[in-house]
């Protein structure tokens, strides 16, 4: 992958810039003495992973449910998140049952009549895509496509950077 001819307005370019900046900050923070202890490595791994996910979520042009959910997850401390999702989930269950009865009833019938069992995969997908539990079917499929596109870009860039750092 050629990083020297990046289109400056592409998703890949925006992500690379942000992520490299974050990596520099993380690198600057490391203590001189114990930079190779397993605990240090694990902490840095967490920071790098969060920086990568955050950088990608910030780099998307159109604000997506999954990108907003990612940023919210990484910026909100866990105790506040648990309270928020409790309220969200109980109201969500109410909406789900009512919409199933009205317009989504038609869709559900078609999908299950086509050989059933899509419910399991959809539940799996909702857990994998950030914010997936709150999306209706159309949005879920649409967001999944965009999420996959961004994830592959993220992996490409991270791999290239790691290869470059590995050069001696």
């Amino acid at each position: 992958m050629d990083l020297h001819n990046l289109n400056p307005s592409s998703l890949k370019s925006r992500f690379t810039t942000r992520f490299l900046r974050a990596l520099t900050e993380i690198n600057a923070r490391k203590p001189i003495a114990s930079s190779s202890s397993p605990r240090e490595i694990f902490q840095r791994y967490r920071r790098i992973k969060d920086a990568a996910d955050t950088s990608m979520a910030y780099s998307v042009r159109s604000r997506r449910t999954w990108s907003k959910a990612t940023l919210w997850r990484l910026r909100t401390p866990s105790h506040r998140r648990r309270l928020a999702s409790f309220g969200r989930r109980s109201s969500l269950n109410k909406t789900r049952t009512t919409t199933t009865a009205s317009h989504r009833g038609a869709v559900v019938v078609q999908i299950t009549s086509r050989g059933g069992g899509l419910g399991v995969q959809l539940e799996e997908l909702r857990e994998l895509v950030p914010g997936g539990e709150a999306m209706d079917l159309c949005n879920l499929l649409d967001e999944t496509a965009h999420y996959i596109k961004c994830l592959t870009t993220q992996v490409q860039v991270m791999r290239t950077i790691a290869n470059l750092y590995s050069l001696e």
Partner: protein
């Protein structure tokens, strides 16, 4: 989105419109998946596409994890001068 909802609420035949949209979205997802084993066929079941999608997302998450770990170890050993050189190379 809201106009789609009210249309499908009106009569049973309009559920086919929603069904086609689902098919379109599912086939769009199918295009994104890496084609590994079987020859590209148009008639892949929605369940299979969704299952492959879940597997693909999980493998991408794993790759992000592995690369983060690798970068973490590399940052421990690479000194700042080399990092600065690499960074300036990438930024041009």
């Amino acid at each position: 989105m809201s106009s789609r909802r009210s249309r499908s609420r009106q009569s049973g035949s309009n559920s086919r419109i929603t069904d086609d949209q689902i098919n379109d979205l599912v086939s769009k997802l199918h295009q994104l998946l890496p084609e590994i084993r079987n020859a590209h066929s148009d008639k892949v079941s929605a369940a299979k596409v969704l299952q492959e999608t879940c597997n693909y997302i999980r493998s991408l998450h794993r790759e992000v994890d592995d690369l983060s770990e690798r970068l973490s170890e590399l940052l421990a050993t690479t000194d700042n001068a080399q990092a600065a050189i690499i960074r300036s190379l990438l930024m041009q």
